[in-house]
């Protein structure tokens, strides 16, 4: 590897295009397509008595109106339950258009197709749906009483119930360990709902080719391959007749891994039925009430510990609000309950969760995917233990750390990929040391005292996490060198702005020894790569990155073999530098990779000057062997897959200093520090960007964002005016330090970095506010009004 790009802060190659308006997002496509709009339920729980479309029929420009009764075959069935699990005994999914009962505000009831979106919305406004009201179920603690049911056949509104027990190494249960512990604490924690809120909502654009009987669908999705399979299945089309492309996608953060969304099968169906191009672009209000939310949990914690703060037993019971449906199974509470343990070795652990139906928008993974809740639980516990013992909060954490020599470390739980939760590598004491130095932990008491002397209140907080990243089952990479010397890389998973065009090109350029300018990357286009899983769980770099590296290694090996023939050299003596294959130490004995590509493909027809070298009278191939030898393929290309034995485990620790206004209770983040370990860094600049974005979302979750439902199941803040995402002005400068503990599990030694930044922020801010105020914080987010209320309560 002579072209060293791996590990360099290469500038993002996609940015010039994206920031100058050259990106092609879903709504930029198909300007002449018909527009779809939906009549959505205004009620949280109701039975549909009648749908009267007559008034809408006169709207000029109306093309079609569809209700559930119009849907044929598999389209009329409930949407798939994507991730079945034995504990999910009562999984339920919605129909693409509501059949009899609507179970949350925003559920689609009628689809209207019209000449443009204005006309479609005009028609929607004239459709009258008659409802019979049913009792709405809002809030997990009410729901679990079972007085009113979201689904008639799901008693107690419990979709899933799961217990995992990890006894102590000498076989004692968590209950026994807590019972025997010198100290115990018991408390309740509460985390509000938030949501991914990508800048670009969902969207689908479908083109039916009646002559070819084929369908091309563009979707703003995190998984084009799986959307393709879902569309083929639901529409009864042969898979080769369906193409799905994820164009530029303006953020996903989890919500676009869910599929097929009702619109992802309804729009293609309408396009085929009408033989017209049809497009639907989700608007912000639709996104609030008809996509997905996350985070909401109530946790009950019992912990037993010794004088040093070592956790001897931990028992956590979680009520998880999964909303009205469970299309994504119980991945979120599984992640909460398994990742809760973080960098710690706990004596004995018992975790029980109930995943509960409510008449609210469904809950599916949002960046962090259950980890922020688990980390909030563990880190609040650490702070409580430290406060109880009167010890430094970092000391208590350090007392519980898994040691650097203890890897691989088996937490004896089953992770979200169905595989053992075994940490591959890490160095938690070093991470904490770096963090304390970065934030100035040890000198903070003096800073706090100086502030207090000026009448100011400041506090410091800390939070640690371990994140399972790069989950399987697999991803693939395809690499082709064409006779112009260009390198075409494709992988099936999709991009939502992460910088894949840059990092995958860095990997390919490094592996093949070509200038990065020669490398192009295509993601999420089923025309180029048909087998893939998707972009989620901080997995793209680990999965596709390694697959692309492996594919490149195949190409390199073949290139060296062909070049060795041409140069009459031993392939082991060859190197590739700047796209030229040459004998090591003898630069004159060389052949361009472009020529190797020509020679790799024996030709009958010369389409250009260079191609003549590979034609049948050129003498390029031996007469003793067939032009393409057995076991060989024409062309200089390679494909490979990477399928890991289990996930890699990245880790990080954050600290913050906050100031609280003694009068107004405003909370300001003065400093925010991050130490991050995702193994080998492919591109430190992109990793830092990921951390910054994650922390920004974490600040939202800690101080600003919550989905507020009233008792009728109405979402009270379904707009950016009242759902408060932090602006740049609310996000502090983020100080970052990297630790690189390579993963032994994959060829590149990397771990995922996409979600990391968001995970511990609520825990860190709670810790810091608690330190500033001396008030126990047990629910997030916290607003100035909330803090004021807590102060009044403390004052009695």
């Amino acid at each position: 590897m002579t072209t060293k790009l791996f590990g360099e802060p290469v500038r993002r190659r996609e940015d010039a295009r994206l920031v100058t308006g050259q990106g092609r997002y879903l709504d930029d496509l198909g300007p002449g397509a018909l527009a779809a709009a939906f009549v959505r339920s205004p009620h949280a729980h109701a039975r549909i008595k009648d749908i009267d479309v007559s008034a809408a029929l006169d709207v000029e420009g109306l093309v079609a109106i569809y209700t559930w009764e119009d849907l044929p075959g598999a389209l009329a069935e409930p949407l798939p339950l994507l991730i079945p699990h034995p504990a999910l005994t009562h999984g339920r999914t919605a129909y693409p258009l509501a059949k009899d009962i609507v179970r949350h505000v925003g559920e689609p009831v009628v689809m209207v197709v019209a000449e443009d979106r204005y006309v479609a919305e005009d028609a929607c406004a004239l459709i009258e749906v008659e409802y019979e009201f049913l009792k709405p179920v809002v809030g997990v603690e009410e729901a679990v009483q079972g007085g009113n049911l979201v689904h008639e056949d799901v008693p107690g509104n419990v979709g899933a119930h799961m217990v995992q027990e990890v006894p102590s190494r000498d076989g004692r249960s968590a209950a026994e360990m807590i019972g025997a512990a010198p100290h115990t604490l018991e408390f309740r924690l509460d985390i509000e709902r938030s949501a991914c809120m990508p800048l670009e909502g969902k969207g689908v654009y479908a083109r039916w080719d009646a002559d070819d009987q084929s369908l091309r669908v563009y979707s703003s999705t995190q998984t084009s391959t799986s959307v393709r399979m879902a569309i083929a299945a639901k529409l009864g089309l042969p898979l080769p007749k369906v193409e799905v492309i994820a164009p530029d996608v303006g953020g996903g953060f989890g919500v676009k891994i869910v599929h097929p969304w009702p619109e992802e099968i309804l729009i293609p169906w309408a396009a085929r039925t009408l033989d017209r191009e049809v497009k639907w672009t989700e608007d912000r209000r639709e996104h609030f009430v008809s996509s997905a939310h996350e985070r909401a949990q109530v946790q009950h914690v019992r912990v037993g510990f010794d004088d040093d703060g070592r956790i001897l037993g931990l028992d956590v019971t979680i009520l998880h609000d999964h909303g009205a449906y469970t299309p994504y199974g119980i991945i979120v509470p599984i992640i909460t309950s398994t990742q809760l343990l973080g960098p710690y070795k706990i004596g004995a652990y018992r975790v029980e969760f109930s995943s509960i139906y409510t008449n609210t928008v469904q809950v599916t993974p949002y960046r962090g995917a259950g980890r922020p809740q688990g980390v909030f639980c563990m880190e609040r516990t650490m702070d409580r233990v430290a406060a109880y013992l009167g010890r430094d909060r970092t000391e208590v954490r350090a007392a519980n750390f898994i040691g650097p020599a203890e890897f691989p470390y088996d937490q004896r739980l089953i992770f979200q990929d169905g595989r053992p939760l075994i940490y591959d590598s890490g160095n938690y004491p070093e991470s904490l040391r770096m963090l304390k130095e970065l934030i100035g932990w040890d000198s903070f008491p003096e800073m706090k005292a100086r502030a207090a002397a000026e009448g100011r209140r400041i506090g410091i907080g800390v939070g640690c996490y371990v994140e399972g990243t790069g989950v399987g089952p697999y991803e693939g990479g395809h690499v082709q060198v064409t006779s112009d010397g260009r390198v075409h890389v494709s992988t099936g998973l999709t991009s939502q702005g992460q910088g894949h065009e840059t990092v995958f090109a860095q990997i390919a350029a490094t592996e093949l020894g070509v200038p990065i300018e020669k490398v192009s990357v295509v993601t999420g286009d089923t025309r180029r790569f048909g087998y893939a899983v998707g972009t989620f769980a901080s997995r793209a770099a680990v999965m596709s990155g390694n697959a692309i590296a492996l594919a490149c290694r195949k190409v390199r090996e073949k290139a060296l073999r062909i070049a060795a023939d041409a140069l009459e050299a031993d392939p082991r003596d060859l190197e590739i530098t700047d796209g030229i294959v040459h004998v090591a130490g003898t630069p004159s004995a060389s052949i361009p990779l472009a020529t190797v590509a020509v020679l790799s493909n024996p030709l009958r027809y010369a389409f250009d000057e260079e191609a003549k070298r590979a034609t049948q009278f050129s003498g390029a191939t031996s007469m003793d062997r067939p032009p393409v030898e057995e076991g060989e393929e024409p062309g200089l290309e390679g494909k490979d897959y990477y399928s890991p034995i289990r996930s890699t485990f990245a880790s990080g620790m954050h600290a913050a200093i906050v100031e609280t206004d003694p009068e107004t209770a405003e909370i300001t983040i003065l400093r925010y520090a991050v130490v991050h370990d995702c193994g080998k860094l492919i591109n430190p600049m992109i990793v830092e960007g990921q951390i910054h974005g994650g922390v920004a979302q974490g600040v939202g979750g800690a101080l600003y964002e919550k989905m507020v439902y009233d008792e009728h199941g109405q979402l009270l803040n379904a707009s950016f005016m009242d759902f408060l995402m932090p602006y740049a002005t609310e996000v502090p400068r983020i100080e970052t330090a990297h630790l690189e503990t390579p993963s032994p599990l994959n060829p590149l030694g990397i771990k995922g970095a996409g979600e990391a930044g968001v995970i511990p922020v609520s825990a860190v801010i709670a810790s810091a506010v608690e330190d500033a105020e001396g008030i126990t914080i047990d629910r997030m987010p916290i607003s100035p009004s909330d803090l004021h209320t807590l102060r009044l309560r403390l004052a009695g």
Partner: protein, 293 residues
Amino acid sequence: MKPPPFEYHAPVSVSEALEALAATGPHGKVLAGGQSLIPLLNMRLVAPSHLVDINRIGELDTLTAGADGVRVGALARHATVERSTEAAAVQPLLRQALRLVAHPVIRNRGTVVGSLVHADPSAEMPAVLALLGGSVRLACLGGEREVAAADFFTGPMESAVEPGELAVSAFFPAPPPRSGTAFREVSRRHGDYAVAGMAALVTLDEDLRIASARVACVSVGPGPVVVDVSDACARRPAASVPWDAVAAAVRDRIDPEGDIHATAGYRRHLTGVLAERALKDAARNAGTEAAHE
């Protein structure tokens, strides 16, 4: 999020606009900066059948600062008024408040008069007009009237503008000598509508004692709530005013409501804190003014 159908009028003179408004009556709605109206239309929360776009009427794009005060035409953008040195010299509260109105891009488009007519109780400019005792000039076909701030804000999102009328300008009077102003607010995020906010006007006597003091409270009533706290200031110099009593006097006059961002109790508390802070700022500014006399 597309607006329902409407007929669009684009008059180029005030008289054309007034004709259109007269013809459409209660079905007509004026479009100025559009920073509130367009989202309301797109969310189909309002559905006027006629939109009268006044953006082409050059004669409304005026800003006049005189010794007695500042008159702001209906097309003067927030940003124009905010940046006007002449306006700030005559009435500094305009710039102090406008800096807190939303974000620069919104101020580039939104208009001061539009904000007054929209009459959002959480908005800064109605509080400014109410505090200063300003007025709004309303024109209709064949007539004109000047409505005092006290009569202009009739309820949340409701003003004295009648069907057929166009608010052509607003007048913000200059303060008396030895006066100072200030605007303080707490918003959830930078640029958001205030959870609570406070405009203050303090006038000193020749001995630099507080002769009169007034505040206008934001987000704690159906409209801007003006409270005269001159008595509570007890004609003392700012340094020895019993601020607790002043804050209490303001808190007693408001009737805030709780919502998803703040409890009523927090708004009341915050209003007291902001009253003290704004009045202290205003008294300090008044002192500076007095020193320049």
